[in-house]
């Protein structure tokens, strides 16, 4: 597919394309900065190409690779109608005369670029000309430097663990920090805090599901604008990942969308496996599917629990009912890998260990019981008039807006777009299973509710099929360069011992290249961008968190609604702040 893309591109813009390369099935074109916006618009609008979804926008600091120019921005494009993807790279010449390299902003072409560009500006120090409001997004406004640059030091930040009274650093304790208006000064200029009430929903608020701050501009109780302020939970996962061996980043993926650890693991190991080109035995693939789909159900259960809680109040029974079922899924995870929340259950090359003997029966009994439970939940909510009046018509996100904002997952499908990576680009043998993609047309909160409820049913179907057709065989690839040999072999074979030793002391060294891996997470597309320089440590690791992108749609969805609706809307976005801030 991509070949035709770049043929057309070359025909249209003969001077624009500097280079086209292919690696592991990903095609990358390098575009000059001057022509980039025209190219982007052409790729989006050309009827044969229709790259309507800007999946990800990131950047690479190539200082240690010795490539000039040092900074390059990377655009991962995907076309939902044509089901093909392409990657653009725009090198940014920088003569140090300006404060930072400049790149044209794509926020006008793909509105989702807005936050991505702010993230790149914040973490990599690349300016975007024409950006509507270029401010730091994850780091505090007064942060010095850009952490993802390769010359930015690791560590060195003193952390005080005891608050001794004599330390002047703690002189502020017990005293009011801020007088007067308490919302941050870095609100967009069009926020009118004189005639309107600006209210801080968060960072400590019962309905934001974490440390999210929404500066909400209210006219009475009607929302004029919503300005999300994120980054409270930013932990620098990307910087951490660029200083760890590939395998060691898996536990970090657990902690991004901590309600969908298995899905995160799957997306990450798939990306690394794509980079390494290893074959995964079918048994491992099936078990991965079972785990990922169970995790999807668990994530949706947590969503329905907290959503019902948000819309109803603390005491709504569904909170506990849904958590009870989720608990059973976590028990199954515990049975498999010993951990419940942060599972790190998968490893590059397959699984860490085979499933225990009781696993299939436990899954089967859960599945058969959960069908009934799901009907109970529906009985509590689906036709409840109060529930309908709270959800119907609230937070409409039409399909075209959703695509433009890069929103994926159930939120996009609720707008009527049957886009699901499990069908569009089946991974981990999803094509072996018979399942549907639930969609709705109303694009409101109720549609999202219905889509997620139906998705749980479809996940159950997949789990049922996978567990009943579970093939025999190894649970892990026999490529000893990637996966360790079994314990029994080490005692017998010198070669295995060497493999084991090499693997745990040096890790594996993927070839030089860059890959982008995506997987359909409960909340949308989780993407990993890996750049390998041939060592055991990724040169660049970038994460596209689905919640980060989806959260951007809050403002559009909430405008004109009431404050109560904002709570419903945040609920149906299903935001997990670990995923937003990473």
């Amino acid at each position: 597919m991509s070949d035709t893309t770049f043929e057309k591109l070359r025909a249209q813009f003969p001077d624009a394309v500097l280079d086209v390369s292919e690696f592991r099935g990903d095609t990358t074109a390098t575009i000059t900065r001057e022509t980039f916006l025209d190219v982007a618009r052409f790729l989006r609008d050309e009827p044969d190409l229709q790259y309507d979804l800007l999946v990800d926008l990131t950047s690479i600091d190539r200082r240690d690779l010795g490539i000039e120019p040092r900074f390059v921005t990377v655009y991962e494009l995907y076309s939902i109608p044509k089901n093909h993807s392409a990657r653009l790279k725009v090198p940014l010449p920088w003569d140090n005369s300006t404060e930072m390299p400049q790149c044209p902003s794509v926020a006008a072409i793909w509105p989702t670029g807005n936050w991505h560009e702010r993230e790149v500006y914040d973490l990599m120090g690349i300016g975007f000309t024409g950006h509507p409001w270029l401010h730091r997004i994850l780091m505090p406004e007064n942060w010095v430097g850009h952490p993802l640059r390769k010359d930015y030091p690791l560590g060195g930040e003193p952390v005080y663990f005891s608050s001794d009274r004599d330390n002047p650093r703690f002189a502020h304790l017990g005293k009011p920090i801020m007088e007067g208006p308490s919302y941050p000064s870095k609100l967009p200029d069009d926020v009118d805090s004189e005639t309107h009430l600006v209210i801080n929903v968060g960072p400590q608020h019962p309905a934001t599901h974490g440390v999210l701050r929404l500066a909400v501009e209210l006219d009475g109780e009607r929302i004029v604008s919503v300005n999300p302020d994120i980054g409270y939970l930013h932990s620098g996962f990307e910087k951490t990942g660029e200083n760890k061996r590939y395998e060691k980043f898996i536990p970090y993926t657990d902690r991004m969308d901590y309600l969908a650890a298995m899905n995160n693991n799957l997306a990450y190991v798939l990306t690394v496996e794509k980079l390494l080109e290893v074959e995964i035995p079918p048994r491992a693939q099936y078990i991965r599917v079972i785990l990922a789909e169970l995790q999807r159900i668990a994530s949706h259960l947590f969503w329905i629990a907290t959503h019902a809680h948000d819309v109803s109040g603390t005491i709504h029974s569904l909170l506990m009912y849904a958590l009870r079922e989720r608990e059973r899924i976590l028990d199954i995870f515990e049975m498999f890998c010993g951990a419940r929340l942060t599972t790190s259950g998968m490893s590059v090359g397959g699984l860490r260990q085979d499933i225990p003997g009781a696993f299939p029966d436990a899954v089967r009994s859960f599945v058969s019981e959960f069908w009934k439970r799901l009907q109970d939940y529906e009985a509590m909510l689906t036709r409840n008039p109060i529930w309908l009046s709270r959800l119907k018509g609230v937070g409409i996100l039409r399909a075209e807006d959703a695509v433009a904002l890069g929103v994926t997952g159930p939120m996009l499908r609720a707008g009527g777009v049957p886009f699901d990576l499990r069908k569009a680009q089946p991974y981990s043998s999803y094509d072996h299973f018979d399942f549907d993609i639930p969609t709705a047309t109303e694009a409101d909160s109720y549609a999202r509710y219905q889509v997620r409820m139906r998705e749980m049913e479809q996940s159950l179907r997949i789990v049922e099929q996978a567990v009943n057709r579970l093939p025999e065989g190894p649970f892990c690839t026999d490529d000893r360069k990637v996966a360790p040999p079994p314990r029994s072999e080490i005692d017998l074979s010198m070669e295995s011992l060497i493999h084991h030793f090499k693997l745990y002391t040096e890790g594996y060294k993927p070839p030089v290249g860059e890959v982008y891996g995506m997987a359909e997470n409960p909340k949308g597309i989780l993407g990993f961008f890996l750049v390998s320089d041939g060592t055991a440590i990724p040169y660049r690791l970038h994460v596209r968190g689905p919640s980060f992108v989806n959260l951007q749609a809050t403002d559009l969805m909430a405008r004109g609604h009431l404050l109560s609706d904002l709570i419903t809307i945040i609920g149906t976005i299903d935001v997990v702040l670990g995923d937003v801030d990473r």
Binding site: D219, R222, V224, G393, V394, G395, I396, D444, M557, R559, G560, H561
Partner: protein, 185 residues
């Protein structure tokens, strides 16, 4: 015994009423003034109870304390009457008018209290009658027989006022309706 108790209660309640009334005037904070007004109304209601006029007492609480002062509070809170008004000075026409009006009021009240010459019209109902049929019934009968026309006029007036408020509210809503809204009213 009962009489002494009644007198004691009267003095206490009257004291509260007077202090609260002074508080209405002398409080610098408008919300505190409204609260003093509330206390004044409640004390008055209790005085009515002492006069064996429970119905009036209840109406006093329900209408004045329960509804009107709440509206005062709403207005004060929402319009932010925190800042005190600046007067130009003590000696101006406005103060003179207020002083004159206060003097007239004082004279009238004094006459009423000490001479007993200003009395309202005395109806035909006696306390015994009222005790027999109940106060509410007595008031109701009077309203729906002798005073039917004024009663109906008053209700029409209130209705007009209510409609006016609704119309004004709708116009205000139209002014902000220009914003995008996803829901149909």
């Amino acid at each position: 015994m009962a009489q002494q108790l009644q007198q004691g209660l009267f003095l206490a309640l009257a004291g509260v009423a007077v202090v609260a009334a002074l508080g209405v005037i002398f409080n610098r904070n408008a919300v505190h003034s409204a609260l003093s007004l509330l206390a004044n109304f409640v004390a008055l209601a209790m005085l009515y109870v002492l006069l064996n006029a429970q119905f009036i007492a209840i109406v006093q609480v329900a209408v004045y304390a329960g509804a009107i002062v709440v509206l005062f509070l709403f207005v004060v809170m929402l319009l932010g009457a925190g800042g005190e008004m600046q007067m130009g000075g003590w000696l101006n026409w406005r103060t003179a008018f207020i002083v004159a009006a206060a003097l007239v009021l004082l004279t009238l009240t004094g006459t009423a209290v000490f001479e007993g010459t200003i009395n309202g019209a005395i109806g035909t109902a006696t306390p015994e009658q009222i005790a027999q049929v109940g106060q509410t019934e007595a008031v109701g009968t009077a309203l729906f027989t002798d005073y039917l026309l004024p009663f109906e006029l008053a209700s029409v007036l209130l209705l007009v006022g209510m409609l006016g408020a609704v119309v004004l509210g709708q116009r205000w809503r139209g002014a902000i309706a220009g914003r995008p809204s996803g829901e149909a009213e």
